[in-house]
Symmetry: C3
Subunit: 340 residues, 3 copies
Amino acid sequence: MVLRLDQIVARLGGEIVGAGDTAISRIATLENAGPGDLAFLANPKYRHQLASTRAAAVIMAPPAADGLQAAILTAQPYLYYARVAQWLNPLPVPAPGIHPSAVVEGEVASTASIGPNVWVGPGATIGEGVVIAANCSIGAGVAIGAESRLAANVSIYSGTCLGARCLIHSGAVVGADGFGFARDADGRWVKIPQVGRVLIGDDVEIGAGTTIDRGALGDTVIADGVKLDNQIQVGHNVQIGAHSAMAGCVGIAGSAVIGARCTVGGGAIILGHLHIADDVNVSAGTLVTKSIQAAGTYSGAVPFLEHGDWLRNFSRLRHLDAMADKIRALEQRLAALEKK
Amino acid sequence: MVLRLDQIVARLGGEIVGAGDTAISRIATLENAGPGDLAFLANPKYRHQLASTRAAAVIMAPPAADGLQAAILTAQPYLYYARVAQWLNPLPVPAPGIHPSAVVEGEVASTASIGPNVWVGPGATIGEGVVIAANCSIGAGVAIGAESRLAANVSIYSGTCLGARCLIHSGAVVGADGFGFARDADGRWVKIPQVGRVLIGDDVEIGAGTTIDRGALGDTVIADGVKLDNQIQVGHNVQIGAHSAMAGCVGIAGSAVIGARCTVGGGAIILGHLHIADDVNVSAGTLVTKSIQAAGTYSGAVPFLEHGDWLRNFSRLRHLDAMADKIRALEQRLAALEKK
Amino acid sequence: MVLRLDQIVARLGGEIVGAGDTAISRIATLENAGPGDLAFLANPKYRHQLASTRAAAVIMAPPAADGLQAAILTAQPYLYYARVAQWLNPLPVPAPGIHPSAVVEGEVASTASIGPNVWVGPGATIGEGVVIAANCSIGAGVAIGAESRLAANVSIYSGTCLGARCLIHSGAVVGADGFGFARDADGRWVKIPQVGRVLIGDDVEIGAGTTIDRGALGDTVIADGVKLDNQIQVGHNVQIGAHSAMAGCVGIAGSAVIGARCTVGGGAIILGHLHIADDVNVSAGTLVTKSIQAAGTYSGAVPFLEHGDWLRNFSRLRHLDAMADKIRALEQRLAALEKK
């Protein structure tokens, strides 16, 4: 596909500097762009690369840099880049139909594509334009909304409802049992049947190896537009509000309720039964042990140090209380001395 | 299924308050229960919901609350709930037999159910009543005990032994190679063949995406009744004692030996070659770097703070040793002054 | 297989103490070895087991211990053990050919073995001696180098290039979309197409459930000899240098560049866009938030304590800044007093 800058601006807005008939066929970074590439400057850290880029044009915030062949000026270059990149890289559309090796017991829309060795259980309904890649397993009664896509080896348990235009990556598991047990007098665990479902809205992306458990009694609910990176664990009865996004390796324990438009950094853990307000940002590596009532950024990770420095400093953590006591004693002794 | 309270009490014990012929067909929370539902009060935090619940009956510790239609009194309402819920939600029993798309090279009991596109390797033995869902891969020589169930897309490597009544969720991997390498003079890693097995007892549950490595020389051993949540990593030659339970995202490094009836909170990590005594509870987010000899609860996570507070406080961690030195110097100077 | 010590030393070097025609057929630990077993002493902690081992011979550093039946002396007993163990445990070679249940649209070398229910997409090329186990999904245009092995249920996305002699464990996902979105004015996320690839060198091992994302624009690159344990997350455009090794549950955020011969301990997280020099060791549980310029060991985990001690000490972390202020105030007051 080849696009001219004036075509792009006609659809996506922005202002052209230079020749509107400049043709581009690919997005590239400032550093790697060649002739025919459209580059972008979103992070000021890369501003110095403007001088040497060979890009045919650059998406950037005004004013245009001197010396560029051409530019598209926009207040939000990163968002603009995303939109042009989507235009230039349309999703491949596999031929509709059910591969002969697939085992389909449910209902599949005529425009859906079901890949090799897929299983679709009884009562499942697969919407128009859905793409299910090889070796996926779709449980009984699952509903998958129009134009959603499942990469290879995805597992969806019975009863899960998935909205439209979702994207689920390989190895993801939706609807497995939540972790619920009662302990008997002998210390044995008695399983609590997990009879709720997982309800997922529209435009949700679920990363590779991410697991979302079904509810124990009620449902686990992932709202519209939520984006989950890889290897995230979402416990039973969790609710995640619309357009929240979480980076890799995050864990959300059971019954936590996360607001809308939150972000959670990589490896953070949110404990169970907590409430997190809308528009909360949790930094990477933070363990959230209490509810958060107000929008804002919250952090809890410790710095790292060269190993010897770490040993010297962090061993003191075992004695912080004693240090505080010593300071209090010093204050009292000093006050006594000052009085004399 | 409809049960009367007197039927329930006849099998599970407890004392009825109200009409013994009250019929219930479903378990629900106090908040969501309607007519025909049996609710439960296990967490005192929800006690206020008793006043407004529409449940036909409530499982609770004595004494019964005023105003309820009916109740079952028991010292352990959560455990009681688990048992009634199991009764009301019996596991579905798929028709026995081998799906025509499955590839079976081992031996399968006549009452077992092997799903679509499953592979069962040569020499594997699948016990009575076992259910293996779609797209599972069962390696050569694997033994799976009676009535165990594998959800879709589970991978079991050759030689693994699984007990009876186990439940393994999608994406779990049992018996992959442990991580063992020796470094040569050039810094290259030379693989140490992992020739041990994974031995799993009865009544073990393994969560979605959880991985349990085979032993390097000896075996990795998971004892009876162990419950592992999702995305847990268990290294080679680990031993986990009976009825221990671990929450999501836990990591257990190689050759760690965990006692019986332990609990490990989400995201905790236990380093290799450690011994953890029976009845130890490790809190969420704790990194266990030394063996634990005595039962009890052990913690190591740091609090989280509003970002600005975090910056101010946690940057001090780099200077804890200097703070301790300053306190010591103050003590000496003050003592000198006091002597005068 | 039975080997004599003199055969072993002829191939691998080292010095025999005792009878060179001592025959061994298995490697075992000092503790578990019986007649016919070759044991090894690599960790001085196990030295006391030399006295009671029943091993036919022991690999150890000189000098030989008294009382052993026989020994092979070498400066690097662990490396030596790895090499003998590889010799004694050759990889099983499945019969070449394509299982009739597999769906192969690409090109497969005649000596490769493609297991049951595997899918190989159009344009994929599978090299000589490659083994792909059951239920793997190999996307369009993927290239897999000679003698690489994929365990069951591995997912490789389109365009991935994998070198020779790699080993990929079950549940691993290579080439899923990186986590890239731009936020629009309403707080919605606009997906950035992930059009780069994953390029993996020779002799790379990838653990069970590990996920490696494709690049956003450029490629994600894993160099020769890299060893990744289970459940590691590697973000888009990450580069990992040759012979680096990472333990389970590590997370590497997007565009991080890791040097050669690095090691990363379990559960550590490396944030995005950082540079880590060659020969850096990151300790388990460390969150790396800044680039590391110099070889060495870096740590950032906090100690764990008995729960009551932890409460007392770690609650002080919220007041570290106030403690530092108090110390400064004490120093000033004391100096004032000393001047008098």
